[in-house]
């Protein structure tokens, strides 16, 4: 399906706004498909936390296990991202790292190790 840059950009911005609500909009996808019980311990609970209000999503989402990174400049030159491609930027011990918003809508979590320290980004 041919899509112009401007159309794609508009959709990307919409996506950016939609999923910005602490991931809530994205999680709806998971609930629409499965709702298997999560393996839960028998507490304890943080004061005020009510486990009866927890709703499992069946393990639909897969955390992005980051094993390699590359310079964003190179990826832009290669055409694998565009200037208007939405990204999420986090700081690691080795410097700033961008993650693609489109992908993080699915992963929600990314984990890795950089500069000798473990890091995690939650979206």
């Amino acid at each position: 399906m041919p899509t112009s840059n401007s159309e794609r950009r508009t959709k990307s911005l919409r996506l950016l706004l939609t999923v910005a609500a602490l991931g809530a909009a994205c999680t709806a996808l998971g609930f629409a498909q499965t709702n298997a019980p999560a393996q839960l311990p028998n507490g304890p609970a943080k004061p005020g936390f009510d486990i009866r209000r927890f709703s499992p999503n069946g393990g639909l989402f897969k955390t992005f296990d980051v094993e390699q990174t590359e310079p964003l400049q190179n990826v832009l030159k290669d055409g694998r991202v565009a200037e208007d491609t939405p990204v999420l930027v986090t700081a690691t011990a080795a410097g700033n790292l961008a993650l693609l918003t489109d992908q993080m809508v699915f992963h929600h979590l990314a984990q890795g190790r950089a500069g000798g320290k473990d890091w995690m980004a939650a979206f």
Binding site: A20, L22, D102
Partner: protein
């Protein structure tokens, strides 16, 4: 966020909802965790925290490179779109990539989310969009409509420091930046501060055009319910 507990790496997954927000679980102990504050909610690691919590900033590639030309990127095998082309090999199109409508501040919450909510703060509409900023002493929400009422940019105070609040004109997302300025004005997509500094493409430049280090408070672009349930009794800008 640091996925280590007592010096040992843990592996986290999104496993469900609580207060309408996604909840993480570590594979090692099955403890449930809040994904904003990194706080253990339920399980053997209650009392632990995955801090310090860092910002996850929303921008586009152009702005990311303006912020840091040495920026790295990590790309998974999941399908994504860029420049009108499709990349990646796993999964379907990104959720939202084919949405016909942008976020609606008056949108209704999905039915599966509602039973997970605690007692809601009725001061603002549940699904309103805005910027949440917090420190150990201050928890404050900036509704998007209030930011726009101020021309899309203004200076506020955060724990005695000057803070620039603005809407990124390229991505339409709000952001906060600690600055040494008293007024801010939007002009041709740039933010001009009264100390001569300029915010351009999300990066801060001094009056001579030299890039400046940016200090950002903890912040999240959030719907009202999410921020209010995370920070009960939070301040609301303008109220």
């Amino acid at each position: 966020m640091v996925p280590d507990v007592d010096g040992k790496l843990h592996h986290f997954t999104n496993v469900g909802l609580y207060d309408g927000l996604f909840v993480m679980q570590d594979a090692e102990t099955k403890t449930l965790w809040n994904h904003i504050m990194g706080e253990a909610l339920y399980g053997p690691l209650v009392g632990h925290n995955l801090g310090p919590v860092g910002n996850l900033l929303q921008m586009n590639v152009k702005q990311a490179l303006a912020m840091d030309p040495k920026m790295q990127i990590a790309i998974s095998d999941r399908i994504y779109f860029a420049g009108g082309r499709q990349f990646g090999s796993t999964g379907g199109p990104p959720n939202g990539g084919t949405r016909q409508h942008g976020p609606d501040p008056n949108a209704e919450m999905g039915g599966r989310f509602v039973p997970t909510l605690g007692k809601e703060d009725q001061r603002r509409p549940r699904m309103e969009l805005g910027l949440g900023v917090w420190t150990s002493a201050t928890h404050r929400y900036y509704p998007m409509e209030r930011i726009r009422e101020h021309g899309g940019t203004f200076i506020d105070q955060l724990d005695g420091r000057k803070m620039l609040i603005f809407v990124n004109s390229d991505t339409n997302t709000p952001a906060a930046l600690l600055v040494n300025a008293s007024t801010a004005k939007m002009q041709d997509g740039e933010i001009h501060l009264d100390n001569g500094a300029v915010v351009r493409d999300g990066a801060l430049f001094d009056r001579g055009g030299k890039r400046q280090a940016m200090e950002r408070p903890q912040q999240v672009f959030s719907r009202w319910y999410g921020f209010a349930l995370t920070f009960p009794g939070c301040e609301i800008f303008g109220e």
